[in-house]
């Protein structure tokens, strides 16, 4: 009896959003999408009951935007569990450990979908429980504990229950969008979260809950003299304009990364194809430069976070940590191996000339070099790892080309031959793309971006928006309002 037979009764009973039984008009698709989006923004503002907001710590830090999580809200976990579950399933499926034939067997397809949902629930628990019960990331409001009379542990379970509910809600919101809306929920929530931060970085005001003024408001205040920066063309004025109050560097970095990503999105290698039966018929198979998307960065960042986590554990366990291993101040490494291995999150971590870093310049430069090397080489290595493990490499691509009846001109119509030719393109493109994504992520962190969104998040947002644009522009244009039709050409 295989695991499939054992798990089938549970997996086939996982609740699912009903599929539409006929074509959905585009206006209704937009309405579903807008409705779910409003619900998402609403839920990111429903704060966890029982949480001490004054001591709340940013658990994911800069990663929260890519996970579309609302810090301290019921959507604290964001799409993290869904993405993690999908990654785990893809890797297991790619290594053929599941034994599911999702292409041809309808029963396996249903089992796969049920398994994915079950894994998301497991991931919600695996991510949520340590967040609430360990590390004091989500501190409990003691007053709530006293007034309810359930103790700290009781309130912690209450917080976890709310997070669990939020995680389940986002899972079904994603499914609603995938079946009844435009694009995918995951993509939509990432774009929504990052766009919110970008707009916030430009326009926020202390009166509407922002911690400081947005860039545009700061410029207006600088222009009206409310923020004194001195003469613009003096060194102090330029420094203030570029690095501190003016945040021009952030604006330039964001625009530059945006431009590079838009360009890189369209860079591809086109593999020429011909048809075995029709002489003169020509086809193309495009391989995109950013072939593995931002997935390599998720792995690299996870490794970096785990190294830092190890440092904290060692520091807590060992009475005195050797100086070569790590010197800590205010819970952050300021020297030793763990300092050099810590990723750079913002310009303050390295801009010694602005008084940001207190370490000697050579140490700062060494840390920058290590971060850069780690991200670029890690990006390339994990891109190859993903492509090879999750069925995107030359072998499976060759199979896809062969089964479509095409062949590579000048070569025999044989899977092995096609694979040999593809081996000249796909690994190289994957390595280059992975390294480029790593470089962009480091650049964004080092120079700073509007609203503090990372390079990985910006890259993902641009890619998703471009795809959504394509989907809207190409597919359902006929049903659109004349204004929208004009907008999409």
């Amino acid at each position: 009896m295989s695991w499939k037979d054992t798990a089938e009764p549970v997996l086939v009973r996982m609740p699912a959003v009903r599929k539409p039984d006929r074509h959905i008009p585009f206006k209704r698709k937009l309405a579903w999408t807008a409705g779910v989006l409003v619900l998402y923004f609403f839920l990111t503002n429903v704060m966890l009951f029982g949480l001490d907001i004054t001591r709340d710590q940013a658990v994911f830090g800069r990663f929260s935007s890519i996970l579309a999580s609302g810090q301290g809200s019921v959507l604290q976990l964001g799409i993290g569990p869904i993405v993690t579950a999908s990654i785990v399933l893809q890797l297991l499926g790619g290594a053929n450990l599941l034994g599911l034939d999702t292409q041809n067997d309808p029963r396996d397809q249903i089992l796969y979908q049920g398994l994915q949902k079950l894994l998301v629930l497991v991931m919600i628990c695996l991510t949520g429980l340590p967040m609430v019960f360990a590390g004091n990331f989500l501190p409990v409001d003691t007053q709530v504990a006293q007034s309810l009379g359930v103790g700290i542990a009781g309130v912690q379970w209450l917080i976890f229950a709310q997070m669990f509910l939020g995680g389940v809600l986002i899972l079904f919101m994603d499914e609603v969008i995938s079946k009844w809306g435009v694009g995918s929920g995951i993509g939509l929530f990432i774009v929504a979260g990052i766009s919110q931060r970008l707009v916030g970085g430009l326009l926020t005001h202390p009166a509407i809950g922002g911690q400081q003024y947005g860039i545009i408001l700061t410029w207006i205040r600088m222009a009206t003299g409310a923020v004194p920066i001195g003469p613009v063309f003096s060194s102090d004025g330029l420094q203030a304009l570029l690095f501190t109050q003016g945040h021009l560097l952030q604006l330039f970095t964001t625009l530059l990364i945006f431009a590079i990503v838009v360009y890189a999105e369209s860079v591809r290698v086109e593999i020429p194809l011909s048809n075995a039966r029709v002489k003169g018929a020509r086809g193309r198979f495009p391989v995109k430069l950013i072939y593995a998307s931002v997935l390599p960065m998720i792995f690299v960042r996870a490794i970096q976070a785990n190294i830092q986590f190890l440092g904290r554990i060692l520091r807590a366990q060992l009475q005195s940590l050797p100086a070569w291993l790590g010197v800590y101040a205010n819970g952050r490494p300021v020297g030793g191996l763990f300092y050099y291995l810590a990723p750079i999150h913002s310009p303050r971590d390295w801009m010694w000339f602005l008084g940001g870093a207190t370490q000697p310049v050579w140490k700062v430069l060494l840390r920058m070099g290590i971060d850069l090397t780690f991200m670029i080489s890690g990006g390339a290595i994990f891109a190859v790892f993903w492509v090879e493990t999750a069925d995107m490499g030359p072998e499976s691509t060759a199979q896809q080309i062969h089964s479509s009846g095409m062949q590579i001109p000048g070569f025999r119509q044989n899977v092995g031959v096609i694979e040999k030719v593809l081996e000249r393109y796909i690994p190289q493109v994957t390595v280059l793309g992975g390294a480029l994504v790593g470089l962009l992520a480091v650049m964004a962190n080092m120079l700073g971006t509007i609203g503090g969104v990372g390079g990985t998040s910006l890259l993902l947002t641009v890619s998703i928006t471009y795809k959504l644009y394509e989907e809207i522009a190409e597919e359902q244009l006929m049903e659109m309002h004349p204004m929208m039709r004009q907008l999409f050409g």
């Binding site: 004194p228 591809r268 039966r277 020509r282």
Partner: protein, 225 residues
């Protein structure tokens, strides 16, 4: 359409440029008011005035830069497709019809790209610059990246000007269920030359002419197999 632009065309650029001019004028007026004793009104302080001028120049510059960078100057390249007559290479048509026939009763949907007639292998009687549909892009299949993000991020945006769709069960027309494109080719059984037609996005029919020309195949460099 001219390929060079002598003035701002995008409404956004015009608004941004106007804001820049306003800042510059305000700054200049402020400087004048602060420095010229004959003017009774005072400005916003010399530093603020100069900053306003700088912001004005920068904003105007951004508008001009945006106009020249973000809006491609060559909107008309590749050449605009003839709205009345659409040309397709004969081998491509033959291949598409055979692929559609093989896939029946399922539908197929392929992106199609054009090549200028002058670049095709054999001589044709259409002008050299006329775009002729000559290439098919293999359809996007779900992969592991699209499974994680729910959206296909590993396939590049295709530089296609048309799309071929088969209708094994419905008529020779564009329906609301179809993937639309600048030019939509619809084919129906029995998959003969007469059972394919070209339409625009709104479903208006184009005249379709097949060109007896073969595209020169790009052959990759030989590899040791």
């Amino acid at each position: 359409m001219p390929s060079s632009r002598s003035h701002l065309q995008s409404p956004v650029s015009i608004v941004v440029f106007s804001i820049g001019v306003c800042f510059l004028v305000l700054g200049a007026f402020g400087v004048l008011a602060d420095t010229h004793p004959a003017i009774s009104v005072s400005g916003w302080g010399l530093y603020a005035d100069r900053n306003l001028e700088v912001i004005g120049v920068l904003t105007g510059g951004v508008a001009l830069l945006g106009e020249s960078v973000l809006i491609p100057a060559g909107c008309d390249t590749p050449p605009t497709l003839d709205c009345q007559t659409v040309y397709m290479a004969e081998p491509l048509q033959e291949m598409l019809l055979s692929l559609a026939a093989e896939a029946e009763p399922d539908t197929v949907s392929f992106g199609l790209a054009v090549t200028p007639a002058g670049n095709l292998a054999s001589g044709t009687n259409v002008p050299d610059q006329t775009p002729v549909f000559s290439d098919v892009y293999l359809p996007e299949e779900p992969n592991s990246v699209s499974s994680v993000f729910g959206i296909d991020l590993s396939t590049p945006p295709q530089r296609t000007q048309g799309r071929f769709i088969s209708h094994p069960r419905s008529g020779l027309e564009v329906t609301k269920r179809d993937d639309l494109h600048e030019v939509v080719f619809v084919a129906v059984p029995p998959w003969h030359d007469a059972s394919i037609a070209a339409f625009d996005r709104a479903g208006r029919r184009h005249r379709l002419e097949t060109v007896d020309a073969t595209a020169v195949p790009d052959v990759p460099e030989p590899v040791n197999i």
